[in-house]
């Protein structure tokens, strides 16, 4: 287990090599404030991981999907191979939209479909449960797909934390419901009739079964998320105050949820050439240097990866690949710069 590898030096290696080496990792979250390059980082990480793993799935949970944009290829709710790879797939899920699909699906089909109306009521009765349930549904789907590693390109910070909190919240709520139903189930069945039919042709036992299976999935995944051998969180930030502030907050909250995090990617670093007369660049470089110093001081037990700001947009397979190299081999800034 190389995540625990601590170099003899004071500083940990400034790369994501530890994630590549840690074969037991199943879930990798990439998160940070909006616009710091989460998608670029997660795509790059996915490309690097695809070289050393059997199969990798990249999931975007950001409502503003950028995977299609980054790979210049359309992705949807179903996983699809990324062009040019045999073991890297990607999919985009909409945490708000998929509850509609879930309900719709249930309405179309037979059997469990009966629970549809009830599910709908439930989904709109409890705030946040729609997102949680769609998340659980996705997790269930993903689990059955047997990918070796799954990378989540998450939505901006606030969203991420809520997302990670869901399993705990939902698990509690569902445990309550299950307990209630097992207590009052017989009584309700007595009232409702032998086959437990609810008003709109729904069936209580079936609905409870569905909820129960959801709960099981969630509790299993929840356990995995809290296992540092299986899950890690990669924080992406840029050397600016607000981004750093959010990162610090996120790291503290992750610690509260017992989710492991030991990597920070500092993106969009400027490295003006020696003698550059670009005032903005030089001023910005100075500011970034200040915050880099602060990061080094504060996160001395993290792998801090420094990524430069490129002159071109990081889009398409080739550029992503060359960008991803820098996650593993530290970028060497031009000599003589500020």
């Amino acid at each position: 287990m190389s995540a625990a590898v601590v170099n003899a030096d004071d500083e940990l290696e400034p790369t994501l090599q530890s994630i590549l080496d840690q074969k037991s990792l199943r879930w990798i979250f990439v998160g940070g404030k909006g616009g710091v390059g989460k998608t670029t980082t997660s795509c790059s990480l996915a490309i690097q991981l695809a070289r050393v793993r059997r199969s990798v799935l990249l999931i975007s949970t950001d409502p503003a999907h950028n995977l299609s944009d980054a790979f210049s290829q359309k992705f949807g709710k179903e996983e699809r191979l990324v062009e040019g790879y045999t073991n890297l797939s990607a999919m985009e899920i909409d945490p708000n939209g998929s509850i509609q699909d879930l309900i719709g699906q249930a309405d179309d089909g037979e059997g469990p479909a009966a629970a549809g109306g009830m599910m709908q009521d439930l989904a709109y009765a409890i705030p946040g449960i729609d997102e949680a349930m769609s998340f659980a549904e996705v997790l269930k789907q993903v689990k059955s797909l047997s990918y070796e590693t799954i990378i989540f390109d998450t939505a901006p910070t606030g969203h991420t934390l809520r997302f990670l909190q869901f399993p705990t919240v939902l698990e509690k709520a569902l445990a309550k419901i299950s307990a209630l139903s097992s207590q009052f189930g017989p009584m309700l069945n007595g009232i409702l009739g032998a086959n437990g039919g609810l008003p709109n042709g729904q069936s209580l036992p079936e609905m409870m079964e569905k909820l129960e299976s959801l709960r099981e999935t969630i509790s299993e995944v929840n356990g995995q998320f809290k296992d540092e051998k299986m899950t890690t969180f990669v924080c992406v930030c840029i050397p600016e105050f607000l981004s750093l502030y959010e990162t610090e907050r996120m790291i503290q909250e992750l610690a509260n949820y017992n989710i492991d995090t030991h990597c920070i990617v500092v993106n969009q670093l400027l490295f003006p050439k020696a003698g550059s007369d670009c005032d903005q660049c030089n001023a910005r470089r100075k500011m970034q240097k200040k915050y880099l110093g602060q990061i080094a001081e504060l996160y001395d037990d993290f792998n801090v990866v420094k990524m430069p700001l490129l002159v071109e947009e990081v889009r398409g397979k080739d550029r992503l690949e060359s960008f991803s190299e820098m996650l593993i081999k530290p970028y060497v800034p031009p000599v003589g710069g500020l």
């Binding site: 105050f241 502030y245 610090e248 503290q252 110093g293 602060q294 990061i295 504060l298």
Partner: protein
């Protein structure tokens, strides 16, 4: 053993003073005194105070640190701050539960020690005369009233004596309070000095009235 008359009087005085100072004040005073003893809660309370002062200091330092210029320092302070806050809340909740247990125990003991003893005495000595009235000093119905409920006629029962004690304590304490209030009040112009006397007189009259009323209540 001191005379029963004195014991009853002192008991009524204590009850009155407890009611005047307020249960909460007395409880908090007892709590402070209790924490001065070498008990585990006193250690916890001291720790809590220590944590609080640490927290305030940390907060001051954090406010003095610019989060933009010295982010690392600020963030470290912030981590300490959050940790300390959590700790304080935890110790506070345990301390609070101890205090509420303490309060309920003290309340129970106080009730037993005051009202319980009063009832016990009134029950135990209900047939015993406190003292005898001179013969023919009061009409029969007054004698009967004073000896109510079970003391021999012609004597004063413990119940009557308790009520008399309470009434006189009330009267005196009211008088004292208003006297102190008068003394402490800013010197008013001489014109208003005259009508100001009236309320205290009125109060005395009211106390008198309440006394007779309370005696009537016995009926």
């Amino acid at each position: 053993m001191p005379s029963l008359l004195i014991i009853v009087f002192i008991l009524q005085l204590t009850i009155h003073s407890v009611n005047t100072f307020g249960v909460a004040t007395i409880n908090s005073l007892l709590w402070t005194l209790f924490n001065m003893l070498p008990v585990p809660t006193s250690k916890a309370a001291a720790e809590q105070n220590d944590l609080k002062s640490q927290f305030l200091e940390l907060r001051k330092e954090m406010n003095a640190t610019s989060s933009q210029d010295e982010f690392a320092k600020w963030a470290k302070l912030r981590r300490q701050h959050d940790k300390l806050l959590e700790q304080i809340e935890k110790t506070k909740s345990t301390l609070d539960s101890t205090k509420s247990t303490f309060d309920s125990v003290v309340n129970g003991l106080r009730w037993l020690g005051l009202n319980g003893v009063r009832m016990l005495l009134q029950f135990w000595f209900q047939k015993q005369p406190m003292f005898w009235l001179p013969k023919g000093w009061a009409p029969y119905y007054a004698e009967w009233l004073l000896s109510f409920p079970r003391a021999p006629v012609g004597s004063v029962s413990i119940q009557s004596w308790s009520i008399a004690c309470m009434a006189i304590i009330l009267l005196v304490s009211d008088a004292l309070v208003s006297a102190v209030g008068l003394a402490l009040a800013p010197k008013a112009p001489s014109k208003t000095a005259e009508p100001r006397k009236a309320p205290s007189e009125e109060k005395a009259a009211r106390a008198e009235e309440s006394r007779s009323q309370s005696e009537k209540k016995e009926l």
